[in-house]
Symmetry: C2
Subunit: 397 residues, 2 copies
């Protein structure tokens, strides 16, 4: 009752109608809501339950009535197309893709330790893996009039959310047309996450899922799709979500000089044990678990783990399914959209008082993670994919 | 005359009919011939002249009569296709692609410094950039009967060379079918290099050019193309040209555990100055030049250069054409097959006696090079793409 009164008294708070969130999430900011799960919960399941999937909101969560929801598809000859949720569900084949989404700022906290950067101080869990179902963007664009004539001049597909800032500007992004219309691109206008309707925090009723591409282009609460000769002019496409040299500072940064982040580089992290954990020597062995993923449909082919700070390395076991269950079918080349979970059990080095555990992953193009953070440091703290390191203490009982 | 007599006296030397090579090449082995150009010559031109293009031969150079040459295309319903050189030139559109080829062992010498590896001790120039012209493999496969029915079971395309070892086994490799038949894959059955017929050392009369993919799959003296459900069983596909963890040794290596190298990771190197060069302090500035390239059609978007061993970084100028000429048109996304040359001129640090110059590149998926060699060391010395470092001495005049 008190809460209701309070809300009634603050009618202008645009965040007052945000959904409830699971209390276990670690909150970065409440308004807009940005939170991530505890690492050991994240790696507990191959498919991340929506409740534990990181929530990265730029703006208040819009309230969308599914009955009156309309998706506008524009920029095509003939004036485009307007689709209801029912249209999306019934007029196009339903396609399901298991895809990992990662925030461009995942592991930003490692960069903040080198030198302060601008952005939410994400830990290692601004990443999740879900089963997304919906209409293929390719099918919708073809139905809306996309064809060889359009391919001659079009180069990008813009996405606009129904979430708006105080000036009425919606969240927006774009992806290359080639990704949007490719049969192998697997871009979805998704209306289900893990077999249920997409929760409000993840884009109800429709979000675009662009497998292999940074979270920021996977626009939630999708309102408009626009085929264009130009990249999106939105703030998030042009003046954010780009990578720069460690020597570039805010006085000298030229956002035009760098491409908008699309495909993400190879990434991995240790979820268990936590940094600072204490291990009993009598355990004799140590089990280390984590995740690994690469953008652009490049499959993770190996994860190396070190217990001595990177001097010597062992190869971890990879997993593409829930523990004890059959793995997912191997993806066709270039369409490995989902992460792999990994695990290794190794003898505790007999004399060690402290262990520096390190992981690094390799993808199918044999790209590797860089050794250290300072040479990839950048003023926005994006693309933080150096080796992940945790230090644990060994206790004699 | 003496030479002629000598050759007549050694009629069994299969290398006796190898072509002449430019004397400036640094020779790794003579039989088979493996050689690379001096670094400063390599970076002198955006298009590498054939004479200076690295030569990586596994076997003797076969003598092929262009009039009787036939390419066999097999594995397709209807018995496949036999094509003469004239057929390739006249029955299919001629397509030209500027593509960089890199040997999987480029920069192996950096790995040998850490711990001895098996393989040719390449320096930094087992890489080159050429303009290749020929028929699209896609067009040839379509003409030979490739279609949706074949796509249902086929997964790979094999290439067999006309070069054979003493047992009669030809050089061979394969690539994924998706790359071979993609409209955006740009795979060529090339009969020209830089506007002239392909020189014997580079595959006369026909070689396959697989842009973005390791040199080893770009089979020279192409004799057979086979569409298959399986990867090539050749030695070079199954028991060579794969990457392993630094902890894997010859007693424990399982070649089945790693994927055949296809797309290569981001790479760069400093061509000028050379390691150990001496600079005059009175020059006041230092110019550093090099190359940068990434596999899979990922464009090089930035090269960072350090004069202090990696403490601080400056951004180099990139170039996609000959010095003083117009650059090549920017490639569509995912089809950046050609390298970039880079250059930076920086003031000499006033007090420095010695400079450790370092370069590292970034590609359009924001993949970066690893900092150091030991963590990517592998028993075959492949995929050597750590930061390149050269040390120069500053001399007071
Ligand atoms: Mo993000
Ligand atoms: Mo090679």
């Amino acid at each position: 009752d008190d809460l209701k009164k309070q809300r009634a008294a603050e009618p202008t708070d645009p965040f007052s109608s945000d959904p409830e969130r699971h209390p276990v999430l670690r909150i970065n900011t409440r308004k807009p809501f940005n939170g991530e799960p505890p690492p050991e919960i994240l790696s507990d399941s191959y498919i991340t339950p929506a409740a534990f999937f990181f929530k990265r909101n730029h703006l208040p969560v819009p309230q969308v009535d599914p009955a009156s929801y309309r998706l506008q598809v524009e920029g095509l000859p003939g004036g485009g197309l307007t689709l209801s949720l029912e249209d999306l569900k019934t007029k196009f084949p339903k396609h399901t893709v298991t895809a990992t989404l990662q925030c461009a700022g995942n592991r930003r906290s490692d960069m903040n330790k080198v030198k302060a950067v601008k952005g939410l101080n994400w830990g290692i869990t601004a990443i999740g893996n879900a089963r997304w179902s919906g209409a293929r963007l390719r099918d919708v664009l073809l139905a809306a009039g996309f064809g060889p004539d359009v391919a001659r001049w079009a180069r990008h597909v813009h996405f606009e959310g129904l979430d708006k800032d105080v000036t009425g500007t919606p969240y927006g992004s774009s992806i290359p047309l080639s990704k949007a219309v490719s049969e192998e691109g697997d871009v979805l206008l998704a209306y289900e996450m893990n077999g249920e309707e997409i929760p409000r925090d993840h884009g109800f009723p429709v979000r675009v899922v662009v497998p292999g591409v940074v979270g920021a282009r996977n626009v939630k609460w999708l309102g408009r799709v626009v085929v264009s000769a130009e990249e999106s002019g939105s703030h998030w496409q042009q003046h954010d979500y780009k990578g720069f040299s460690p020597g570039t500072d805010w006085d000298h940064v030229d956002f035009k000089s760098a491409p908008a982040i699309q495909e993400l580089p190879i990434q991995s992290a240790i979820t268990v044990p936590a940094d600072g954990a204490v291990i009993d020597r009598s355990d004799e062995t140590l089990t280390v678990t984590g995740y690994a993923w690469s953008g652009g449909g490049r499959e993770v082919v190996r994860v190396d783990v070190s217990l001595d700070g990177g001097e010597t390395w062992q190869v971890a076991q990879l997993r593409s399914g829930e523990k004890g269950q059959a793995p997912e079918a191997p993806p066709p080349p270039g369409r490995a959209w989902a992460w792999k979970l990994w695990e290794i059990t190794a003898p505790l080095p007999p004399e060690a008082q402290e262990l520096e555990i390190v992981c690094k992953a390799v993808d199918s193009s044999y790209n590797v993670q860089p050794d250290t953070v300072p040479p990839i440091w950048n003023l926005r703290g994006l693309l933080s994919n150096a080796w992940h390191r945790v230090t644990v203490r060994v206790r004699d009982d």
